[in-house]
Every structure is written in structure tokens, then in C-alpha cells.
Amino acid sequence: MKSLILRTASHYLLPLLLLFSMFILFRGHYLPGGGFLGGLVAAIALVLHYFAYGMNNARRLLVYHPGTLLPFGLSLSFLAGIIPLFAGYPFMTGLWYPDPAPVIGMLGTALLFDLGVYFVVIGVTLLIIFTLAETSENPWN
């Protein structure tokens, strides 16, 4: 099912969707969105790319094995939890940088935490879908 329409569309959609996922991630603190949703959107974008171009291309695009995103994301979230410990606050206290950064908005440990969630969600979704895809004989591989 290597349709030209799907390929062309996904070619343009992929960067847009990835940017959109980050947009959702960053606006999460103020408007509907957040790391979980952002991660799902990013994962869907990559799955779409896999449907259009096949597994090898999708893996090459991702560079790293999706499994490596799991410890990376978990450590980011955990780091966000322990940073306040060094400042003398209890575990998971939200700390914020006083001035907003351009585009992203306020910077703080909660954002770092959400970033971790974002990566874990991408990692989990892609790990499961890619593994399932590889073990089944389907026309997209």
C-alpha cells in the first residue's frame, strides 16, 4: 500500500505534525494540551510516516531505537522531581524561572517533567507499534 498520495501528503504532514505536537506540549500549562497528548500526536505522525514509507525509513528517521526514549524520558521526569531537593525543597516542588522565555513561555521544572512524559509516551507507543509491525507480515513493511 505504498500510495503516492499518502507519501506526498505524509512528506508535508510529518514536520507539521511534529511541530504541532511540540506546540501542544508547550501550551499545555495554560491551554488544553500537555505532554501526554503531545507525545501521542508525535507518535501518530511517525506511525503515519511508517505507513507511507515503510519500517526501514521510519527507523532511519527516528535515528534512535524507540526503546531508548523510555529511560531518557523517565530520567527527565525524575530529574524534574529531584532538582528541588538541591534547592532545599521537598521532592517534586515546582520551581520556576522568573522571566518567560520567547515562544515557549514560562520555564520551570513542571515543563521539564512534561517533556519527560512526552518522550515516554512517544517511546511506549512506537515501541509497541513498531514491534507489533515487525512481527506481523503486513503490506506496509
Binding site: L40, V41, I128, I129, L132, S136
Partner: protein, 774 residues
Amino acid sequence: MLLAVLFGFIVAILLLPLGKISKGKPSVLLSLLPLSLFVYFLSYIPAVQEKAQIFQYRWIPSLDIHFSFHLDGLALLFCLLITGIGTLVFFYSSEYLKRQNHLDRFWGYLSFFMASMLGLVLSDNIITLFVFWELTSISSFFLIGYQNGNPKARTAAMTALSITGLGGLFLLVGLLLIGSVGQSYSIIELTQQSDLLKTDAAYIYIIILIFIGAFTKSAQFPFHFWLPEAMQAPTPVSTYLHSATMVKAGIYLLARFTPMLGDTMEWTYTLTIVGGITMVYAGIQSLLRTDLKSILAYTTIAALGIIVFLLGIGHEDAWVAAVVFILAHALYKATLFLMTGAIDYSTGTRDTTKIRGLAPYMWPIAVAGILAALSHGGIPPTFGFVGKDLIYEATLHADHFSKWLTAAAIFTNVCLVFAGLMVGLTPFIGKKPESLTVLKRPGVRLWLPTILLGLSCLILGLFPNWVDHSIIQGAVQSILGTNAQAEVHLHLWHGFNTVLALSGLTLAIGIGLYSFYRPTHSVENSLKLWEKISPHSAYHSCLSLGHWIATKYTALLQNGYLRYYLLSILLFLIGLFGFEFFSSVNLDFDTSDFSSISFYEATIALIMLGSILTVVHANSRLVAVVALGVVGYSLSLFFMDFGAPDLAMTQFAIDTLTVVLFVLVLYRLPKYLQYSNTSARIRDGVISLCFGGLITLLALAIIQEPINTETSQFYVDNAYLLAKGKNIVNVILVDYRGVDTLGEITVITIAAIGVYGLLHLTIRNKKKELPKQQ
């Protein structure tokens, strides 16, 4: 002090990366760990004689759990035994286990055990005491099963863990009961509330639970059978855990709790009776065994019985006897174990019917063995003699039944005399048979610790005043509590009196028995007939019953068909919900203030109904999957309509991915669908409708309840002020309930790894199968 206790754990963890070193020659340096601790604790002797030392370290203040260490006489005695014998055992093991596999693990477990044991005897907080108690059980499990290639060792490890672990659970409940009655977790504070505890209605349950914990750990009848089985462990481990230290943890607990809970009829009678039965029973068993370690195991049980018995008699004489006997037993039994290990190491056998005349090949071991045998039998001038005299002194001065108690003590001691000579003397005298070959002679690291321990039995016998004030008196004081002042003077020679006459009688019978009788294999084999009615076989029956039930139950519920899993979960929920609903919920709902159904809602509901009908009547899986997707999307439209955009977006994304997953899985399913028959469909339909109906009722019932908005109002008020966010849902996820989210992402990570592992396992299996098919 905290460092001293945790030192062993730190070393155990360091051995993970540095394990290679511990496999070679430098492993002997590891004995510096217990040695330094031994010296450290020795330095406390003068201070502890003055008053008990207390060290407080906060751990979980909100639960009143602290690392509070209480170094008094009793704790000091045990600390010195743990580190002193530990030093020799570490030193000994470095040669005994040379060139074994997984040595790094062995050293890790051993250091881990030592640290847990130190923590156990030093803890003043009963919760940390319990934690250390369990850690000793766990390290004992690993050490018994150290030779993990041997199925017997594995079974023995399991038996020991299940018995001591089970006892540990009882102990935990007992300790929590004590804590709730006494309103404290500190042993010192609880001891001051002794009267309150003893008069409480829960007292009887408390002591039953504590007893089960202590008796399982200290191998009292009928829980004794794990100890002889645990002799599968390497001999240094048996020396250390299963004779000198760990099995005395139960004794320690009883002694420690005596001032708090003791001195009641229930306490003294139970301990005397259980200890008495154990010592007599194990004494008889030790007469019939032929394996050196087996004899030692049963005499250890007998000795533990004696100590429990003495603690039960319950006056100062008996407690002095118990403390002296703890020390004497640890010294001579450790010697005999190390000696057995050396014999096993050089000849490869432990069979007493074969081993003779080894003295010329290993004279230091022989000297140590004979000294320990003398101490074991209570023959002057050894420390064992001092101990045995005190036992008779205690039984003669008992308040009730003193004749019977003395008779039981004499009987057990006769058995001990015999067993001591059998183990410590027989292997070295006579002429070495042709069949016995000495493969290698024990090196210095084997004989040095053995002879040191052997000599200590003699030296302490000659100079008992070296330890009476410094160590024994403090330990007795701990058992006495603060009401009385302990005064201990030990002498080798008491003059001519009843006690001496009884000692002489014991020796005469024991030596007489030794000169006429030898255990043989046929006697030992005939014992197997009795095992059918022993507690051991009861344990095995329980175990196989458990396996049988688990197998049946698993076959019934976990039958491997996803549809049945779903069915049983739903049926269970329907039963539970349904019962609760119709018994206690008012089903007369007030629908007057419901808003009317809008055009959009009706449309979405119709779409959902239509797609559900499509799913049910679909002719192919693909159609069903897509139609299910439509149901999901409609649901997210509902969320949208009711003002939950976060939820709607997430539901939308999740449904997309679910359809993708389904489609990928479709290719793994069989090509041709075998549709379920009509009756199965009707059954499924009825169950689904029931479940859906119940959920609807549940939703209606929830709406009827007045909603408590306090919590949500807090979030609304504080989301921006405290967490600098306007999206409350997200603020809850990443800030207020951030730890929950951290837990959740960990869980989904584990789930993903599980899926990956399962699927890759099938890939690998397929690759293996492929060449065969070609």
C-alpha cells in the same frame, strides 16, 4: 554506629562492580570488615558496663520509625559473637570456597547477612528490628541456596525461607499489636509500659504471635525441620548462620522481650514446655544420625531448646545460665562446624561410620575438635562445663516441677556429651581405614580459625572471670530489666555439691553410651518410616496442596483465552456492583433537573448506536475495528460537547492509535474467521447489556449524590498562584499529582518493555523453527 551497621551493606553493594577482586586471593582481606567491627564493639565494653548506649538517627519521623540503636549488654554480647565468629568465618571461607563459582555473590550475601544481624540486635525500634529480621531470613535463603546447581540446596533454601518468612509475618503482626497497645515503637519505652501490655486483652495474642516468630527462627519444635535441611549450605555458612548467630535471633527476641512481656504464667510455661520438648526430641535425634553436619544440626536444635527452656524457667539463675550457654554454645559449636568443614574439605566425606584416625594428618584441627567436644559435653575444665553447671543450678532452683526439669536437662546433656564425642573425638582416634583417603591437607586459613575457637573454649573455662563482669553480667541485666541489679560471678569450681554430682552422673552415662553404642546407617534409614508423621511431611503436604490448588485455579481462570478473561472480569464486576446496588442504593432517581437532550447529542448517540450495530454484525474484522474506531471518535465528540477539550483530544489520539494497533494485529490473526455460534453470541450480548446497564445506573446514582467541590475549588484557586498554570488538568498532572504521573509513566514503560519482550521472544522462536521446516 550507623556506619558500623551499614558497613556490611555498603561492602555488599561495592562487591557488585568490584566482584572480580573478591574471587581471587584478595578475598582474604574481606575478613578485615568483621574484624574491624569486632574491635569497634570491643571498645564499647567499658562504656556499656556503665550504662547502655543509645544512638538515634531519624529515618521516617512521620511514622515514628527511626534507626535508633540501643547497645546494652545483651546487644553487645550478640554483636561480639556476630563480628568475632564472623571474622573467623570470613577468613576460613576464603580458603574453603576457593575456586567456587559466583564467589562475589557469596561474599556479598555474607556481608549483607552480617550487617542485617547487627541491625537486628541493635535496633531499639521494633519496626526496624523487623526489617533487619526479614533481611537475615533473605540472606539465609541465598546462602543456603548458594550452590544453586544442586536441587537439594534449592529445596532447602525454599523450606527455610517459607518457614522463617511465615514466622516473620506472625512476628510483624505481633509487633504492630505491641506498638498499638503500648503507643510506641521503642523497646525501651515499651519495656517501661510492661504492666500495661501484660494486662491488656491482646496480651495473649501478642505473645502467641511473637512466639511463632521466635520459634520458627530459632528452629523450635515443631518448626525445627528447616534447620537440618539448611545444612546444604556451605559449611562456613552453617557455622555462622545456622549455629552461632542467625538461629539465635529468636532467642535474642525472647530475651529482649522478657522484661517487657515475660514473667507471666503463659510466657514461662510455653517457653519451658516448647524448649523442653525441643531439647529432648533433638537430643534423641542427634543420637541416631551418622552425618557429621546432621548430628551438629540436631545438637544445635537441642541447644536452642535448652536456651528457650532456661529463658522460660524465668529467674536470675536461669538467665545467667542461658547467657553463659549462648556464649559457650556459639564457641564450641562453631569450632565443631569448622572442624567438620575441614574434614569434608580434605577427605570429601562427613560420614561418621567411615572417618577414623585423621589426627596425624591435621593435628591443629584435631586439637580444636577435641577441645570443642569436651566443651560440648560439659567436661572440665572447659567453658561448657561452667555452662552446664549453671543449667543444673537453674533447674534445681526452679519454682515448679524442678525434678522433672532437671531430669530433662540431664537427658539432653547426656545426648550432648555423646554427640560431642561422636563429632569431635571419633574422627581423630583409631586407625585410618583404607577406604578413607586424605586428598589434601587443610591449609593455615582452615586450621587457624578452628584452633583459635577451640582454644577459646578452654581459656574461658579456665578463666571465666574474664567475661563474667564485662559481658555476661550486662546481658543478664538486659533480661532482668531495670527492677533489679544483676551480679554475676563465674567459677570453674563450685565445690562438692548436688550440681557436681549431677554433672558427674551426666558424664558417666554419656561416656558409657559412647563406649557401647555407635549410630549406623540402618538405624538412620529406619527413621525414614517415622518421617511420614513428622512436621516436615506435614509441611510438604501443605506445599503440594498449595501447588495443586494453584494449578487447578490457574487452569480455570487463566486459560489463555482473552475472551474468557474479559468474560470473567465482567461477570465478577456485574455480581459485585449488582449486589451492592440492589442492596444499598436507592434506585429512585430524580430526573427533574436534567437538561433536555440537544440535537447534537442525539446525533452523536445515533452515530454511536449505528456503529455498535455495525460492529456486532460485521462480516470481517477490519469492518468491526473501523466501526469501533467510530464509537471512540463519537465519544470524544461527547467530551468536546461537554467542555472537556483535553479529554476529547486525548481520546481522539488514543482511538487513532488503537485502530492502528488493531490493524497491525489483524495480520497475526487467522485469515478465516470462525464466528461464534448463536448461543455464545446471546450469552455475550446479555452480559454486555447487563454491564452497560449497571454502569448507566452507577452514573445516575453518582449524579444524585451532592458533589463535594472543596478539592476542585482548591485547584481552581491555586493552580495559577502556586503552580503558575492556567490549565488545571495539566497542573494536576505535572504538579499537584506529579508523583502519580511519574508512577504512571513508569508503569507504561514497564508495559512496553513487556510487550517488546514477549513479541521478540516469538520472533526468536520463529527463527529457530524456520531451518527445521526447510
